[in-house]
């Protein structure tokens, strides 16, 4: 049996199910209780689980992220919310130098099973400090896992897996997808981390992407299909672990590739993907350069038209695919 729910609800459901299943799971962050988080994701959770498991924190990101790590080190499974992913920068040390390194530095004697959930990306007019997509900065730190779901189905299945994972997982939600809907099984399911999902199968060009760009790429694919161009859309779903094999197979098949992400193109994760393709057997099959499409190199502007101009759009995706063929 399937039901239709929003991306936000899928995340909420995943958290609730895991909190019921495992009493070591708890949830903390700024204004997640009565306010239900800046995007209303935790609606109803305070009523269900009470103040002891749904904890508002002071505006002290270092302290509550650090507290999450400490609690995880001794066997709890905290879910920690950062109100905007941009704020990872005020607790970056905890996220990249503590949580992911602790196990290694301590010779394998400790685990940090923590999930850091945070709304990421632009398109909401929140300007330069509340609209970034900073996944590339996280994926560069061994020890951390990095997940970005593009549908309610993926969001729920991946989050449940992330909560059960024994490692720190950065779970980057897409602000502009929170209200989008999709079908989700009524029964319990999980999705393994590190398995890409071919969201659309095609023959002429691969679009490798993730997050909200998946939907845009699918739209672009529809438009391109009208012109007889059959695009394959690969949603990597997690940056770490990264499903190298599925990407390479897709590019081998279609001989063309466009990598799309919302993050600034320069220095973005698309470089890693391009680098992996350019050094794989797919390289020998390529009929065109490896193209990347990401945001322009500027802080994200407030003005909506400028903001649109900065990010990839369906039109830009269409144009780039055509330019490769």
């Amino acid at each position: 049996m399937m039901k239709e729910i929003t991306y936000a609800q899928a995340i909420n459901d995943a958290m609730c199910e895991e909190m019921i299943r495992d009493e070591t799971v708890f949830f903390m962050g700024e204004d997640i209780a009565e306010y239900c988080g800046a995007f209303g994701v935790s609606r109803g959770m305070l009523e269900k689980f009470g103040k002891d498991r749904i904890m508002n924190t002071p505006i002290s990101e270092q302290a509550f992220v650090g507290a999450g790590i400490g609690a995880a080190m001794v066997g709890m499974r905290p879910i920690v919310e950062l109100m905007f992913s941009d704020f990872m920068c005020v607790c970056f040390d905890e996220l990249v130098n503590e949580a992911p390194k602790m196990r290694f530095m301590f010779g394998g004697k400790v685990k940090v099973p923590m999930v850091m959930r945070t709304p990421s990306g632009g398109g909401t007019g929140a300007a330069a400090q509340h609209s970034q997509s900073l996944e590339a900065c996280l994926a560069h730190f061994p020890g951390l896992k990095v997940v970005i779901p593009s549908t309610p189905y993926d969001a729920k299945g991946l989050l449940k897996t992330a909560i059960r994972d024994d490692n720190p997982v950065m779970f980057l939600e897409q602000k502009t997808l929170y209200r989008t809907k999709g079908m989700v099984p009524e029964e319990e399911y999980t999705i393994p981390l590190g398995v890409a999902d071919v969201k659309r199968s095609g023959t002429d060009c691969s679009i490798i992407t993730y997050g909200r760009m998946v939907q845009m790429s699918l739209e672009a694919a529809e438009l391109l299909m009208e012109e007889g161009i059959n695009v394959e859309v690969v949603d990597i779903r997690s940056l770490v672990p990264l499903d190298h094999k599925t990407m390479i197979e897709s590019v081998r098949k279609t001989r063309h590739v466009l990598i799309v992400h919302e993050a600034v193109q320069f220095g973005g994760f698309g470089g890693e993907i391009a680098g992996q393709i350019a050094d794989s057997e797919a390289f020998y099959y390529l009929d065109a350069p490896i193209r990347r499409l990401g945001a322009l190199s500027c802080p994200i502007p407030f003005n909506p038209n400028l903001e649109k101009a900065v990010f990839p759009t369906v039109e830009k995706i269409v144009a780039q695919v055509k330019s490769l063929l």
């Binding site: 700024e30 204004d31 209780a33 009565e34 306010y35 800046a38 995007f39 209303g40 508002n56 924190t57 002071p58 505006i59 002290s60 990101e61 270092q62 302290a63 941009d86 704020f87 920068c89 005020v90 909401t124 007019g125 929140a126 300007a127 330069a128 400090q129 509340h130 322009l296 190199s297 500027c298 802080p299 502007p301 407030f302 003005n303 909506p304 038209n305 400028l306 101009a309 900065v310």
Partner: protein, 340 residues
């Protein structure tokens, strides 16, 4: 209502020296205008929002106008001021042109940030207003830097002021800023606008001791708490604070207790507080209280005050017209300001 605010009455008559000088009367007039500009500006922004004419989000400080007006009236124009994410009233008191601020809110090219910053980044370095910042705590550390520059240049009569919220006082950056300013004895005035909530979270849930003034103690820094709805109390305390800070003795902390009548931002359903609480604070409106004082003490007549209010309202209306008539920035403008 928790914390210290419960004791506060907004009786503006207390603590005021008599007789009132011409200068003070002028300052009162200015504060009256600034508070109205702020109130009308924000009410208008709220309305524009509700009509879907504003992009993004905005943080309104309706009910908090006396903090900005009172403190900044006590500052000198050369002083550097760092505001909060809830900073329209601060920008206004610092002297920003509401036309350009409104144009910014409406994302126009004529906006004070050319439409690139928006409500969360309103700033005007030309008037030494270093603006709103979207990351809590960051303004405080940068403010220490402008004060450091001032000291290095031996500019004696210039201080740096940073506004921040009660919630933001829990950021590590805020603590580091206080410590650094204190040990280097820099001319920084820390102004905590304590509206007793950080977003939806009451201060009693995030501080064991909600007396924020105590946070100055470890740094050997004086602190004072005032009724932030009493513009004259705010003003007089700020004059004294500025004197102290400008004298080279080091920083000071001023805690201004007030209340945010508006929601936190457009997404606020006010689920964390009662209607009664909000209503009770409407009664303590700093503008109402100030009017009562000014009239009762025969400083200005009702008519004069109304006329000034009307002028402010007109100015906001004109600002809106100006903004609406302004062009949006073009794509060509985009990359201009990334690098100097």
């Amino acid at each position: 209502m928790s914390g210290k605010n419960s004791d506060h009455t907004s009786d503006v008559t207390k603590n005021i020296e008599e007789p009132i000088s011409k200068e003070l009367k002028m300052i009162m007039w200015q504060m009256w205008i600034d508070m109205h500009l702020a109130r009308y500006f924000e009410e208008r922004v709220q309305w524009l929002f509700s009509k879907g004419l504003v992009h993004g989000t905005t943080h309104l400080g309706i009910g908090e106008e006396a903090t900005a007006a009172g403190t900044i009236a006590a500052m000198k124009s050369q002083d550097y001021v760092f505001g909060t994410h809830r900073g329209h009233s601060q920008a206004i008191a610092k002297g920003i042109d509401v036309k350009y601020m409104m144009a910014e809110i409406l994302a126009r090219k004529t906006g004070v940030c050319k439409g690139k910053g928006g409500s969360m980044h309103i700033a005007d370095p030309d008037i030494h207003y270093f603006g709103a910042d979207g990351v809590l705590g960051a303004s405080a550390v940068m403010c220490v830097g402008t004060a450091l520059a001032t000291r290095k240049r031996k500019e004696e009569d210039r201080i740096s002021v940073v506004f921040f919220g009660d919630g933001t006082s829990n950021e590590g950056a805020t603590w580091e800023a206080m410590n650094l300013a204190a040990v280097w004895e820099l001319p920084v005035l820390f102004v905590c606008v304590n509206n007793t909530y950080g977003m939806s979270t009451p201060i009693k849930d995030v501080m064991k001791d909600t007396d924020i003034a105590k946070r100055a103690y470890p740094f050997g820094m004086p602190a004072k708490t005032v009724d932030g709805n009493n513009v004259l109390e705010v003003y007089h305390a700020s004059v004294e604070a500025r004197e102290y800070v400008a004298s080279g003795k080091g920083p000071m902390l001023l805690v201004e207790n007030t209340y945010r009548i508006s929601g936190h931002s457009k997404s606020d359903g006010n689920l964390y507080r009662t209607k009664e609480e909000i209503e009770s604070w409407k009664e303590k409106c700093p503008i109402k209280a100030f009017r009562k004082y000014l009239v009762e003490n025969e400083l200005f007549t009702e008519e004069e005050l109304d006329k000034a209010a009307k002028t402010a309202a007109d100015e906001i209306e004109q600002a809106e017209e100006f903004a609406k008539a302004s062009p949006e920035p073009s794509f060509d403008d985009l990359m201009n300001d990334v690098y100097a």
